[in-house]
Amino acid sequence: MRELSLHILDIVQNSITAKADTITVEISENIEADELKITISDNGCGMDEETLARVNGTFATSRTTRKIGMGIALFRAAAELSDGYLTLASKKGEGTVTTAVFRHSSIDRMPLGDISGTMMLLSAKAKDFDLIYRHIWCGNEFVFSTKDIKEVIEDTPIDTPEVLNYIHDYIHENLNELFGGERDEIS
């Protein structure tokens, strides 16, 4: 993975598999504290302690067709490379929170990359759940929710290409406004 946004795309699939009906992705950038924090939380089926220990320990998967899962391991490696860490908190029946913390200025921290692209593709799957994306930058924030989109489009499917392209451009424009202009690391 070359971008943090690709890790987000990957990890949110876990929340979808856990049958969450609300998935929240929060990216919080605090330049003063030199910290970038990504929090992915869901209200899906959660994990018991044993499963959680397994996920924390190795390349785990809940799939039965193979024994190896790499999503969390790769995300953790990316965080640790940039003087950060990854934590998982989960409770059976309540949901899971994945938190990855990075040193913002670390030369080994991956760029955020195409966040709008990630959110657009996740929105395409958001038929049975809602996706909330919150980006905090220097005290200001931008919030996107598929709930708002669904309210407007009513029974038009959210995965219609035109709707998805709208979501992409909408997020892209609002992020640029939040940051006060284009940023190199956001493609």
């Binding site: 993975m1 690709l6 990957d10 699939q13 593709l121 395409a124 407007v152 995965d159 998805l164 992409h168």
Partner: protein
């Protein structure tokens, strides 16, 4: 700046075309592998290219969806194209450029792009 008005206009346009869509059951399906392996190999820009090209050409009988890993990770990004009444075609090692060509040649003009298919790799 994108406004909700724009989104409403898209909805109205879709509503208008939904009847034609229901009448013809000739739905074309594009399915893209979007597991860890697919994502790492570049499936996201491939899917974006499909959505872009399909919206640009106004092809409202095509659906684009995502699936998990089907066990051929070294050939990712993998894309399956289903034309009604025909066998599934699997494209391997896709790129956004290849995606545009698959839309134009295969989905619009019904000519399979054989050099991108899994058959050509074996």
């Amino acid at each position: 700046m994108k406004s909700l008005e724009e989104l409403r206009a898209i909805k109205e346009k879709m509503k208008a075309s939904v009847n034609d869509r229901n009448e013809n059951s000739d739905k074309i399906k594009v399915v893209i592998g979007m597991a860890t392996c697919g994502i790492a190999a570049g499936a996201r820009p491939v899917m974006q290219a499909f959505l872009d090209e399909i919206a640009k050409r106004g092809l409202d009988n095509v659906t684009v969806s995502q699936t998990g890993c089907i066990g051929m990770c070294k050939l990712e990004p993998l894309v399956d194209v289903f034309l009604p009444g025909e066998e599934k075609v699997t494209y391997i090692k896709m790129t956004p450029e290849k995606a545009v060509r698959v839309v134009n040649d295969h989905i619009v003009n019904k000519n399979i792009v054989s050099e991108y298919t899994i058959g050509s790799a074996e």
